[in-house]
């Protein structure tokens, strides 16, 4: 059925950011009238590929062919002119302007003397919105619309151009089931009109529902492209995760003691539901799942940043309620957030002040004056134990490498002397060598008797480091595995929403 000539062909696309190669000789073809699913783990290079097709990034090597002719996408407007429409993960709209202007910005219909023809623009927008069965009209300010409606505007925008390739980067992430159905109806309509659709999703049901062919990316490399009928979910998963496990994770065996933290039926509407787990002394509990699965939200609730609506938290067998992180810290829980800049690190401070930030009260006298000798002693201790590489504890945090910044953040929380340490994506954005250091550190802390919860979207990391693994999908626990029964396929299945019984 597929025509001989592909509409768009990617040939040997390679993209590097600094030393990191995020796309490695990726080649595949997109045909007119097909829905092509692009899948891969977080960090597989999907978003980079989308941005290349959108004209935001230029590939370092390789070429893009349209109708067999090579094209170079210098900028987004040129990509648009060639018929490449991209719906980014976050709708990129203008909240202060109305729907019509959001659709036609930069290419408004012009009347005589190059005057924007508002009447025509509103009529055309309303015609488009009618086609999409939208419940708002062209003059509605975008500020007042929901995410689903905003997505609809992005689709209307694609329809208003002569779109030949429509790229949708996780368009369903923020939509309800009904809204997804409506979206798919439109996608099928576009397919029937001969538009090629590149569809990125983490949900298998959706992929197997709507896609004609599937391409899997892993670590920036093209793994396979196959018609959806020739693939099973299991095959797709193993293609996604089939990474060789590296010897980078030196997990030491720790003596596992009694239960320190127990969570029962924790629920917070819109974030997570009925989450239960235990962590023991000396144990590393890995939280596997895709970005947005609700793992961070659970951690925030345990740490008292948000309040759960139902469920209980037991610490050492005692029920506790934390109305603020300060209370959680007083009970010796520490949370190292994912975004070290936003929540963890004061970049303008030296290492020493960063480390002692959460405990300055215990270091200061009644006048609030900090005992600098003790402060330096504590900071130096962690500096040595964590093997932070810098010119000394006086070096400013902003001039450290990502891995060393992460160690400073961890040191800061260790200074509070926690019993339970929650680490959210502890190795994101740091290089391989520093990663191994952080892993060694986590493992060492466990042997010292700390209970550790490690949230990570990197499956090999979770598998290698954890004594037990909890998989979450869309706010629910979808699997729990012991170290010896966990493998990539089983955990990935659970993280993709296929409930399995791990026990």
């Amino acid at each position: 059925m597929t025509p001989a000539q592909p509409l768009v062909e990617l040939r040997d696309i390679t993209k590097r950011f600094g030393d990191v190669e995020v796309l490695h000789h990726v080649s595949f073809q997109l045909f007119a009238g097909e829905v092509h699913a692009l899948v891969g783990e977080n960090g597989a290079g999907k978003s980079t590929l989308v941005k290349i097709l959108a004209g935001v990034y230029a590939p370092d090597s390789g070429s893009i062919l349209l109708d067999g002719e090579p094209v170079i996408l210098h900028n987004p407007s040129q990509a648009q002119r060639l018929g490449f429409a991209v719906i980014h993960q976050q709708p990129s709209l203008f909240p202060d302007l109305d729907v019509a202007e959001n659709i036609y910005m930069g290419r408004q219909p012009l009347g005589r003397f190059g005057r924007v023809d508002w009447g025509l623009m509103y009529r055309e927008t309303n015609a488009l919105l009618q086609r999409l069965d939208a419940h708002f009209d062209a003059r509605t300010p975008v500020r007042s619309l929901s995410i689903a409606d905003q997505q609809l505007i992005e689709i209307a925008k694609a329809l208003s151009m002569e779109t030949r390739l429509l790229v949708m980067d996780e368009p369903t992430a923020a939509l309800s089931a009904r809204e997804v159905e409506d979206l798919f109806a439109i996608v099928r309509q576009l397919r029937a009109q001969g538009v090629a659709i590149l569809f990125i999703s983490h949900r298998f049901e959706e992929i197997f529902d709507i896609a004609d062919r599937v391409t899997v990316l892993r670590d920036g490399a093209h793994i396979l492209t196959k018609p959806v009928g020739e693939l099973t979910q299991a095959e797709t998963v193993s293609a996604m995760v089939g990474r060789e496990m590296s010897a980078l994770f030196p997990k030491q065996e720790a003596a596992i003691g009694s239960v320190i933290l127990e969570v029962r039926g924790l629920t917070r509407a819109g974030e997570f539901r009925d989450v239960s787990f235990q962590v023991r002394q000396g144990e590393i509990l890995g939280f596997a799942g895709l970005v947005g699965a609700g793992r961070t939200e659970v951690a925030r609730a345990v740490f008292g940043i948000t309040q759960p609506e139902a469920g209980t938290i037991l610490l050492g067998g005692q029920e506790v309620h934390f109305s603020s992180p300060t209370e959680a810290m007083r009970h010796r829980i520490a949370y190292v957030p994912e975004d070290r800049y936003q929540h963890g690190l004061v970049r303008e401070f030296p290492i020493v002040s960063n480390v002692t930030l959460p405990i300055w009260q215990s270091l200061s006298n009644w006048l609030g004056i900090i005992d600098q000798r003790r402060e330096r002693a504590i900071a130096t201790d962690y500096y040595n134990r964590l093997r932070i590489r810098a010119t000394g504890i006086g070096q400013l945090a902003q001039s450290l490498s990502g891995g060393n910044q992460q160690k400073v953040v961890i040191a800061k929380w260790l200074a509070t002397n926690p019993r339970v340490l929650i680490l959210d994506e502890p190795t994101r954005g740091i290089d391989i060598g520093a990663k191994a250091e952080v892993h060694r550190l986590i493992s060492q802390l466990a042997t010292e008797g700390m209970a550790i919860i490690m949230i990570s979207s990197e499956l090999p990391e979770v598998l290698a480091m954890s004594d037990r693994i909890l998989a979450m999908h869309e706010g629910r626990v979808t699997g729990e595995f012991n170290r010896n029964e966990a493998d990539q396929e089983r955990v990935m299945f659970a993280a993709m929403g296929q409930v399995t019984d791990g026990h």
């Binding site: 900028n75 302007l97 910005m105 069965d133 009209d137």
Partner: protein, 347 residues
């Protein structure tokens, strides 16, 4: 497919959304209507106590006195709409005023059109310097224009060296420009009105004008869809400088006596007028009409306070209060409307 139900739901939902849109449009106008109401209150209040205030000649006097601010405010509105600010306009007006008056003093026979061309060009160059630093060197506009505010004023001091240009130094024909009338309308007011109308038209009906709003509303999205942000922002600063340069020549013509302190602090009056006029200081919303009404309100308040013989000390405090009241009102209305819309949508 069940066509009938689809059509039906469509009609009802469309009707309600159209009503909603109309309501929003109405509220959007209220800000300008509200400004008119404020103006009415001020005029009535002063007029009752001092009927002379309502005389046509006095109204003309007020409009004359704010015309120059209005011209600068048009440029400032463009800049603020794109989520930037131009603090250097007062210094550009001052430098242009002194330089053009000084030029004429040295060459009294110079064609007056050339003097205006010179002032506009000087302003455009100074504005372009701002624009290059902001758009292409990526320095925040508040920092750049705070710097150039001082640099441009410093250049003014350096070339003036404490001297001033007096009325007798320049040709009578130059001084009479500001007092001229065309079709019975004082030239200054006419020029300001034409500039405001042209700018309004361009903001509404040119693609570039709409892109100014887009950039102010969401700069990142603007770039993703391929709007040339740097170029547009550069243009707003260029225009702001050009209009300030023109305003400088008019200033010299109107006040006859120009020293290097001319138009000091004007930028604050201008920004106040624009913000009072409902232009969002974070960009994306507002109109030239609003900015002009803001200018007229502040000018009317000033004149009213003078005519009622208020202590000039009060003037500054009332300016401050007017700005705060306007901005607070703006925030409250925006929040109210937002809540109203959400409630309607949820229902």
């Amino acid at each position: 497919m069940d066509t009938e139900t689809t059509v039906n739901t469509h009609v009802t939902s469309k009707a309600s959304s159209r009503g909603l849109a109309r309501m929003v449009a109405r509220v959007g106008q209220i800000r300008e209507l509200g400004l008119l109401a404020v103006l009415g209150v001020v005029v009535a209040f002063v007029g009752v106590q001092e009927p002379r205030f309502l005389a046509l000649s006095n109204i003309e006097q007020i409009l004359q006195s704010i015309a120059i601010i209005a011209i600068v405010a048009v440029g400032e509105t463009l800049v603020i709409l794109s989520r930037n600010v131009d603090l250097s306009v007062g210094s550009i007006v001052g430098l242009s005023a002194f330089a053009s008056a000084d030029l004429l003093k040295g060459n009294p026979s110079l064609n007056l059109w050339l003097v205006f061309f010179f002032g506009c060009l000087l302003g455009a160059v100074l504005g372009a310097i701002n624009g290059v630093l902001i758009s292409y060197a990526g320095i925040p506009s508040i920092v750049v224009t705070l710097g150039t505010l001082n640099i441009y004023r410093g250049i003014d001091f350096a070339i003036a060296q404490g001297s001033q240009v007096n009325a007798y130094d320049v040709p009578e024909s130059f001084l009479s420009i500001a007092a001229n009338r065309i079709l019975g309308i004082p030239l200054l007011i006419g020029v300001a009105a034409v500039i405001a109308i042209v700018a309004s038209y361009l903001l509404r009906f040119s693609r570039q004008g709409r892109q100014v709003y887009a950039i102010g509303s969401n700069p990142d999205a603007a770039e993703i869809i391929g709007i040339r942000k740097a170029r547009i922002v550069f243009s707003t600063f260029l225009l702001s400088g050009l209009l300030s340069g023109l305003a400088g020549v008019l200033w010299a013509s109107r006040f006859a006596l120009v020293d290097s302190h001319a138009a000091s602090g004007l930028e604050l009056l201008v920004i106040a007028a624009v913000v009072v006029g409902g232009v969002n200081i974070n960009g994306g919303t507002g109109s030239i009409l609003g900015a002009m009404l803001g200018t007229i309100i502040l000018g009317t308040i000033q004149s009213g306070l003078e005519i009622l013989r208020f202590s000039p000390f009060w003037l500054q405090a009332i300016y401050g209060a007017a700005i705060l009241i306007a901005v607070t009102l703006d925030a409250v209305i925006t929040r109210r409307v937002g809540r109203l819309l959400t409630e309607r949508r949820l229902r």
